[in-house]
């Protein structure tokens, strides 16, 4: 079996030039300043194209989707998808935030770019109810198939939950 090592080809970019580079690729991307690491907010419509570029651009090379999760902003009616990206080849990090509507959360699947997304997206589907289009196997991951509701949503309730003593 052929050995295939990942070359350490790129150089780590600092936060400023990283964000500048991404805004050049996608002018709609905005810096998200309240994060401790380089982070951008990307409109849903631009995200699939940008994801492919983040993966393939020679000076970005985000090869590892370190994690994917979501935040339920119940007050504003948005579910914010979070993608934590790492470039093992360059050594830099990026967090991408993408808003989807809470009452109709649909997002494109990124399995074709980062295969691990298949299972990370299943987890978000299971716990937040986000539907991913073009996902090969979108089923619940942790909970039973007939489970009602999505537990990590802020307004989730079921018969087993206890009232907190005040």
């Amino acid at each position: 079996m052929a050995t295939s090592l990942l070359p350490v080809s790129g150089q780590a970019l600092d936060a400023q030039s990283l964000v500048a580079k991404i805004q050049k690729l996608c002018p709609a991307a905005q810096l998200r300043p309240d994060c401790d690491r380089p982070a951008v907010k990307v409109p849903l419509a631009h995200w699939p194209v940008l994801a492919q570029q983040l993966f393939a651009s020679a000076d970005l090379l985000f090869d590892l989707l370190e994690t994917h999760t979501a935040i339920d902003w119940v007050q504003t009616g948005q579910i914010e998808l979070v993608y934590v990206l790492t470039s093992l080849q360059c050594g830099h990090h990026l967090t991408v935030f993408v808003d989807v509507a809470r009452d109709n959360p649909v997002a494109p699947s990124l399995c074709a770019v980062w295969p691990i997304a298949q299972w990370q997206e299943r987890e978000v589907f299971d716990l937040f109810g986000v539907h991913y289009t073009d996902h090969p196997d979108l089923r619940r991951l942790f909970l039973d198939d007939d489970w009602q509701g999505f537990p990590l949503r802020k307004d989730y309730a079921d018969d087993f939950m206890l009232e907190r003593p005040s």
Partner: protein, 386 residues
């Protein structure tokens, strides 16, 4: 059995007619959720044709406790104490990951004594974890002695932890602002005694299992995971390094005192079960190196800088930090809207992401190889389900 016999046997197995000639058909077998070689409540649905694995479908959730949801109802001190129930063999590293993100978010300071203690105990636990893996790995392959040897030597280290920390398995020690207790006065002497016993025994481990030709034949060339596939499937830790990618957060983004100690990052070249085995065996020796450098150089000072009763408040924002456990990258994400409790907490666990390598590496192999592959991934199931 010598190498030639084993190779001939494998060649004969590989030369058996395919299913079309024999007129066989595919069938499904449930491996787990209660199965000795899945090391916990992991269920694998196997699509088999005779002994050949055609598909592996992992089914999760048998130990899902909703740790992330519970964290939303906990304050910044409490949530650290849930983390030892994720990867119970890396309880201290888990504590540290949660502590690290809380300290970053609340801008809490530590001193060099705290960092030295954290690095020391976490590195001891890496040895502790690999000892268990080694024993269980042998047992999965049908050799029962390594299990006894591994647990015998692990017990010494468990006692060392118990003296300082109080716990033996699910330990809670590292917390925001310091560590819970100062180290036991005998800790350094205890660890030195352990190393004196364990270093020759590590050679014994190699003689017993690594140099065993049956073990080698069962591991070499089995479950090959290329570097590209490993990264694409989100694998980290020894699984990634065995595929030839020298990525270790202790080197790439040094935390604790890792920037001040000398150690090497062992890597494999083929990404097969043997490389994953060899990388962990090497890692134990490197961890011993780190521990030896730290033992006599623990700085004086306080073991906590923030009183345990003090409330921790975090300004609104998003924080993420990660570190290297015995199994790979453990990330912790914290979302705050202000106040004493997080709005959302997410743990990026190494086992959840390492698991999926089994779906590609085991396909086309035999059931016995699947057991070797699973064991070489060193999965801890509660860390997958959270």
């Amino acid at each position: 059995m010598n190498a030639t016999v084993a190779t001939t046997l494998r060649a004969r197995l590989d030369a058996l007619p395919s299913q079309s000639l024999l007129g066989t058909q595919e069938y499904f077998v449930n491996m787990g959720p209660q199965h000795p070689s899945t090391h916990g409540v992991l269920r694998l649905v196997l699509k088999l044709d005779g002994e050949t694995v055609h598909q592996v479908i992992p089914v999760l959730g048998y130990i899902h406790r909703g740790i992330e949801k519970i964290c939303e109802h906990s304050n910044y001190r409490q949530l650290v104490h849930l983390t030892d129930r994720m990867d119970y063999l890396s309880a201290l590293a888990n504590n540290w990951a949660a502590t690290m993100v809380v300290e970053k978010a609340a801008a809490m300071e530590t001193n060099s004594r705290i960092e030295a203690i954290r690095t020391l105990v976490t590195e001891l636990q890496r040895i502790h974890s690999h000892q268990l893996w080694w024993g269980v790995f042998g047992m999965d392959l049908g050799a029962f002695t390594p299990f006894f040897y591994g647990f015998r030597d692990r017990e010494i280290l468990t006692d060392v932890f118990e003296r300082t920390i109080g716990g033996r398995l699910t330990m809670n020690y590292i917390q925001p602002g310091g560590v819970m207790h100062d180290i036991h006065p005998e800790l350094v002497a205890d660890v030195k005694a352990f190393l004196a016993v364990f270093k020759p025994r590590l050679d014994e481990y190699e003689a017993l299992l690594s140099e065993n030709v049956i073990v080698q034949e069962r591991l070499r060339g089995v479950g090959v995971l290329t570097a590209q596939d490993a990264v694409a499937l989100g694998a980290t830790g020894p699984v990634l390094r065995a595929s030839g990618v020298a990525h270790d957060l202790r080197k790439a983004e040094p935390y604790g005192l890792y920037g001040q100690v000398a150690f090497d990052v062992p890597v494999g070249s083929r990404g097969d079960c043997w490389d994953r085995y060899a990388v962990r065996m090497q890692e134990m020796r490197q961890s011993i190196r780190i521990v030896e450098q730290l033992l006599d150089n623990i700085p004086e000072g306080k073991h906590f800088l923030v009183k345990p009763a003090a409330k921790i408040k975090v300004k609104p924002g998003v924080w993420y930090s990660h570190l290297e456990t015995a199994r790979g990258v453990l990330g912790a994400m914290l979302v705050s809207t202000g106040g004493e409790a997080p709005y959302r907490v997410h743990f990026r666990t190494p086992n959840f992401n390492n698991l999926w390598a089994v779906t590609t590496t085991a396909t086309g192999g035999r059931v016995a190889d699947l057991v070797a592959i699973l064991s070489s991934l060193d999965l801890v199931i509660p860390d997958i389900d959270r």
